[in-house]
């Protein structure tokens, strides 16, 4: 579902390149984790995949389509969950979702059905008419995910979907992602939480300094690196020095 070849990107006035010939691929309909320390190039990669940033060199294919040349076709088939809560805080969850659903061109009846379905699935049906700003951190994260699911994308890209949420919300989100994947949808997500990635992902790619460090199934990587956990693999490959 994702093939990246020799992707390069240096932001204007940046001291160092963000991506330096990054190449990786994830198989169709898998749950794939894009992992790396701060400044590794995860967000730049996601931004290139979403068309928000243009790569200096290399190419990226999502669902077999070129992200630069076939953006429109890609858009209707993927859903992106930004790291921050990209919802209007003064509007209710219902109002936010209605607006986003209308932008996707969903009919009124279908939109109503999907909103109700996902609000129930994510345990937000009782808070549907409450303004987002009154939601807890976990509720906001869940609503943020629903907003990217209304058109039921083939591939869901999530940037740190569980950052700063309580254990229950995190568990709920991970369970949902697993079940959504079982329905035949692919998932790419970035995270700092390696235990979570180990538990959820079919395959992972660890990147650092804009390059691929290692790629494979979590269990295989642990065996290769003779490590007890993915976190140990991560530290062995990216070092223990602090990152800004």
């Amino acid at each position: 579902m994702l093939q990246i070849q020799q992707l390069e990107k240096t932001y204007k006035n940046a001291a160092e390149p963000s991506l330096q010939g990054l190449s990786l691929q994830f198989s169709d309909k898998s749950i794939a984790g894009l992992l790396g320390p701060n400044g590794a190039g995860k967000t730049t990669t996601i931004s290139i995949l979403c068309g928000l940033v243009k790569a200096d060199a290399g190419n990226a294919m999502l669902l077999g389509m070129d992200v630069e040349k076939e953006r429109e076709a890609i858009k209707s088939r993927i859903g992106v969950v930004p790291q921050s809560i990209a919802l209007y805080p003064t509007l209710t969850a219902m109002e936010n979702l209605q607006y986003i659903g209308r932008l996707y061109g969903l009919s009124t009846a279908l939109l109503k059905e999907r909103i109700n379905h996902y609000l129930q699935l994510f345990g937000l049906e009782k808070s549907a008419h409450k303004a987002i700003r009154y939601y807890s951190g976990g509720m906001k994260r869940r609503a943020n995910i629903i907003a990217s699911l209304l058109h039921e994308p083939e591939l869901l890209i999530l940037d740190e979907p569980t950052a700063g949420v309580d254990v229950q919300s995190r568990n709920m989100i991970l369970q949902f992602l697993a079940s959504y994947n079982k329905l035949g949808h692919g998932i790419i997500y970035t995270s700092h939480l390696l235990e979570e990635a180990q538990q959820l992902c079919d395959e992972i790619a660890i990147i650092d300094h804009g390059r691929l460090v290692v790629q494979g199934k979590p269990t295989e990587l642990m065996q290769e690196q003779q490590a007890q956990s993915l976190e140990q693999v991560f530290l062995q490959l990216t070092g223990s020095s602090l990152r800004d």
């Binding site: 858009k75 509007l91 607006y99 932008l103 996707y104 940037d159």
Partner: protein, 430 residues
């Protein structure tokens, strides 16, 4: 179309839930407009219908002095004060009161003024009469130097001083001419006393051309002149309208920062239809705000003792002009939202730039009284062209045919703002 409408409705919903935002966007400009109209009412009236007190000391007591006093009394702007505390003013007292700043000016008519005017008139009548062969001679003597004395408060504005001096000089000249003509007429009438025809009526004949003051356009129903309301309401309403850049810029930066832009840009179809829905909302909001200010100018100002705002009768042209102005303001908001990274950078710059553009654009004081260099600079301010278009419609009974140039320039400004914003966004992608 569906996306445009959905976005327009969503923006309306967001705005409706932001009560402090509504208050800021409507009440603050309203308060500013009313306040500025009230503050500037006195300076505007200074040249129009303010009543100006003049200490009048008549030491002469003659016909000419009395006539001059009466003529000045008949001018609505002047109130002649001859007595204070039931006592006739003296030159020394009047001078003292002006010096203390209690009164702006005093006019002293010294003894002998009327006699000097009469002597001068007799001299002229005698000379002309002699050349025309009229018999007899009016009494005359050598001329003596006499002058009206005027004391001004040092704080009085130069323009006001000149206007008072002109008024006095005009009246003195008028009275002198009348006296001369009356004497001459009498002499010539005496010469023609044998004939039964009508008198010469020289004074009437010499007033063949009079001055008729007409303001406003040719077809203007009302005779308009600018006043505090007529200047301040459109000017500050435009200022308030341009402040719409603050929510626009804030909204664009917030969407970029919180990932909403990423989500919106990942929605199939052109991002421009969503952008159009947003811009459409802000344009409508700006227009609504402007028309609320005009309504306040027409309805609230008279309650506060000010003049009512006259908006002419080219309503279609006014609507179109306000639409173009609101679009320009919105485009400027998009530009500010694009070129700055954070609200802390954008909002102060946006607010201060509006203040600067309004100052050079004639919002604070009319462009005509700015220094020559600033008058040239005014052309770079969209607020100048906006105000010019509105004044053309309100004060000169203009129409779309007379404001098209201003509107084209405003549209070019809008286009330029959008182009720079677009280039900034595409550079950001790189």
């Amino acid at each position: 179309m569906r996306k445009i409408l959905a976005t327009f409705l969503n923006e309306s919903r967001l705005f409706a839930k932001d009560l402090p935002g509504i208050a800021l966007l409507f009440l603050m400009p309203l308060a500013l407009t009313v306040l500025m109209a009230l503050i500037q009412d006195a300076p505007f009236r200074e040249y129009q219908d303010i009543r100006f007190e003049i200490l009048w000391v008549d030491e002469d007591g003659g016909k000419m002095a009395k006539q001059l006093g009466a003529e000045l009394d008949s001018i609505p702007q002047f109130v002649l004060i001859r007595k204070l505390n039931n006592q006739l003013l003296t030159a020394a007292k009047a001078q003292e009161l002006v010096q203390k700043g209690d009164f702006k000016l005093a006019v002293i008519v010294p003894r002998g003024v009327s006699a000097e005017v009469a002597n001068s008139a007799n001299q002229v009548a005698n000379e002309l009469g002699a050349k025309m062969g009229a018999p007899g001679k009016l009494p005359q003597r050598e001329s003596r130097e006499v002058a009206l004395e005027i004391y001004f408060d040092p704080v009085i504005k130069q323009a006001m001083k000149l206007s008072i001096l002109n008024a006095l000089e005009k009246q003195v000249t008028k009275i002198q001419a009348e006296i001369i003509l009356a004497r001459l007429e009498n002499r010539l009438d005496e010469q023609a006393s044998d004939s039964a025809g009508p008198g010469l009526r020289l004074q009437e004949k010499l007033q063949a051309v009079r001055i008729k003051e007409i303001s406003g356009g040719e077809n203007s129903p009302a005779r308009l002149t600018t006043n505090s309301v007529q200047h301040n309401v459109p000017a500050w309403a435009l200022f308030g309208l341009f402040f719409i850049i603050i929510p626009i810029a804030g909204n664009f930066i917030r969407e970029r920062e919180d990932g909403s832009l990423m989500r919106i840009k990942m929605i199939p179809g052109s991002y421009y239809s969503i952008l159009l829905g947003k811009l459409g909302f802000y344009i409508v909001l700006g227009m609504l705000q402007f028309f609320v200010m005009l309504a306040a100018g027409a309805l609230v100002m008279p309650i506060l003792g000010l003049d009512s705002l006259q908006i002419g009768n080219a309503f279609g042209s006014l609507f179109l002009a306000v639409l173009v102005i609101a679009a320009t303001a919105t485009a400027y908001g998009v530009l500010i939202g694009s070129i700055f990274q954070t609200p802390n950078q954008a909002l102060p710059f946006g607010a201060i730039s509006i203040v600067i553009l309004s100052a050079i654009g004639g919002v604070w004081v009319p462009v005509e009284i700015l220094p020559a260099g600033l008058q040239q600079l005014a052309n770079l301010s969209p607020l100048h062209w906006a105000l010019d278009a509105i004044n053309e419609l309100f004060l000169r009974s203009g129409s779309i045919m007379t404001v098209w140039k201003q509107l084209i320039i405003l549209l070019l400004f809008a286009l330029l703002f959008f182009m720079i914003a677009g280039m900034t966004e595409s550079r950001r992608r790189r």
